[in-house]
């Protein structure tokens, strides 16, 4: 019995688009509630909250003759752009800032932030700089290490590079991450 790890990893590293779904569904429910209220008010012969159903139909039918037309067009364009963004949101992969760590005992998913802080700790130790002077950012396929040496104390770039590679090799990430080490030419004043 093999566990469905591929599916787990896929689901843990991609967005389920749940928030957008909830927001849209709630907005649609609210819109329906409003339209329903207007209908019932009209059927009971009460004055409308904003606009009576028949007036709404007339407004829609005579939309091109209303003024200012530029405002109507602008509103339409805004609506179209929102629609386009939603369609893109539905189609795009929704990859989260996480990596799979290859591991025998099961599926392991690590946030990029955890990887970055772990590498930063190691780099700070190897370069012998205070922790704030080793800044690491991890993206989908890259880890960028920025080291600011303490003024007057040179750092060894090759040892930092090998330490970073060693860390990354130990993590064995999927997709693999390549590293770039950058040493700032201006040092920080000694702390």
């Amino acid at each position: 019995m093999t566990a469905p790890y591929a599916r787990i990893v896929r689901r843990e590293t991609h967005s389920p688009r749940t928030t957008t779904t909830i927001v849209l569904a709630v907005l649609i429910i609210l819109a329906c509630a409003y339209a329903g209220t207007e209908l019932v008010l009209h059927m009971l012969g009460q004055p409308p909250l904003l606009v009576a159903p028949e007036a709404a139909v007339t407004w829609l039918a005579t939309l091109p003759t209303l003024q200012p037309l530029s405002a109507i067009s602008a509103g339409g364009i805004v609506l179209a752009v929102i629609g386009l963004l939603l369609m893109l949101h539905a189609v795009r992969s929704g990859r989260l800032a996480r990596h799979q760590m290859v591991h025998d005992g099961g599926a392991v998913i690590v946030d990029n932030g955890v990887l970055a802080s772990s590498i930063a700790r190691r780099v700070a130790l190897v370069a012998r700089v205070p922790q704030g002077q080793a800044v690491v950012s991890v993206s989908h396929r890259r880890a960028v290490v920025d080291v600011t040496p303490t003024s007057g104390i040179p750092v060894d770039e090759s040892s930092i590079q090998s330490a970073v590679d060693e860390e990354l090799a130990a993590y064995d990430l999927r997709p693999p991450v390549r590293s770039t080490v950058r040493i700032r030419s201006t040092g920080a004043v000694g702390s």
Binding site: A3, T18, L63, L69, G106
Partner: protein, 205 residues
């Protein structure tokens, strides 16, 4: 790691986006495309008269409004119900048990072992809470492809190696397996929590 139907989410978002795009583009084109505006006006007039006539022609018995209003109301209710169904389908998939299997065949017992999620969660959480390199942890179980999977989520302190965490968590799960006889399928997620982000320690240690 729940049972949310992600394809349904995406189809729903796509359809709403498509409708917004069509409606918005139709309204947006009015200013720039005179032919479209006159078309809209003409069709609008016929639609308006058709609707008004239809509403007048279909009065409900004993009331002074058309039964079309009831139809419209029913359509709105159906739409709301569909939305509620979509919302209700989100989430789920939690598993109350880690696994179920026969207790050792040697003793001939016919009883079946059922490892409750809360038992595993209590046991693991107790061990995880003792670890000083973790800020917080959660333990639960989900059913993935009809198979229960133990889910452990941890938030380590700043700078702790994720490899170390996964190895140590493995030991804990192995201990659990020793108690119950079989290792459950596990999924470990390591999060960069808010406290790990904020609690930055600048000193060299």
């Amino acid at each position: 790691m729940n049972d949310t139907n992600r394809a349904l989410n995406r189809v729903f978002i796509f359809l709403v986006g498509l409708i917004l795009l069509i409606v918005g583009a139709a309204a947006g084109a009015l200013l720039f495309w005179p032919w479209w505006a006159t078309q809209w006006e003409e069709v609008g007039k016929t639609v308006e008269t058709t609707v008004t006539d239809a509403l007048k022609a279909t009065p409900l018995q004993g009331a002074d409004y058309s039964w079309w209003f009831l139809v419209a109301l029913a359509a709105l209710v159906v739409l709301v119900v569909v939305m509620i169904v979509i919302l209700a389908r989100l989430g789920g998939g939690g598993s109350r048990e880690i696994y179920r299997k026969p207790i050792s065949e040697k003793d001939g017992s016919s009883d079946r072992l059922l490892l409750d999620t809360s038992f595993a969660a209590e046991a693991l959480k107790h061990s995880l809470d003792k670890r000083t390199d973790l800020v917080s942890s959660t333990v639960g179980a989900f059913t993935v492809k009809r198979q229960p999977v133990l889910h452990v989520g941890v938030t380590p302190r700043q700078g702790v190696s994720p490899r170390l965490i996964s190895q140590e968590t493995d030991i804990l799960v192995a201990n659990l397996a020793q108690v119950v006889g079989d290792a459950p399928a596990t999924c470990l997620t390591i999060h960069s929590g808010l406290r790990a982000k904020l609690g930055r320690d600048q000193r060299v240690r």
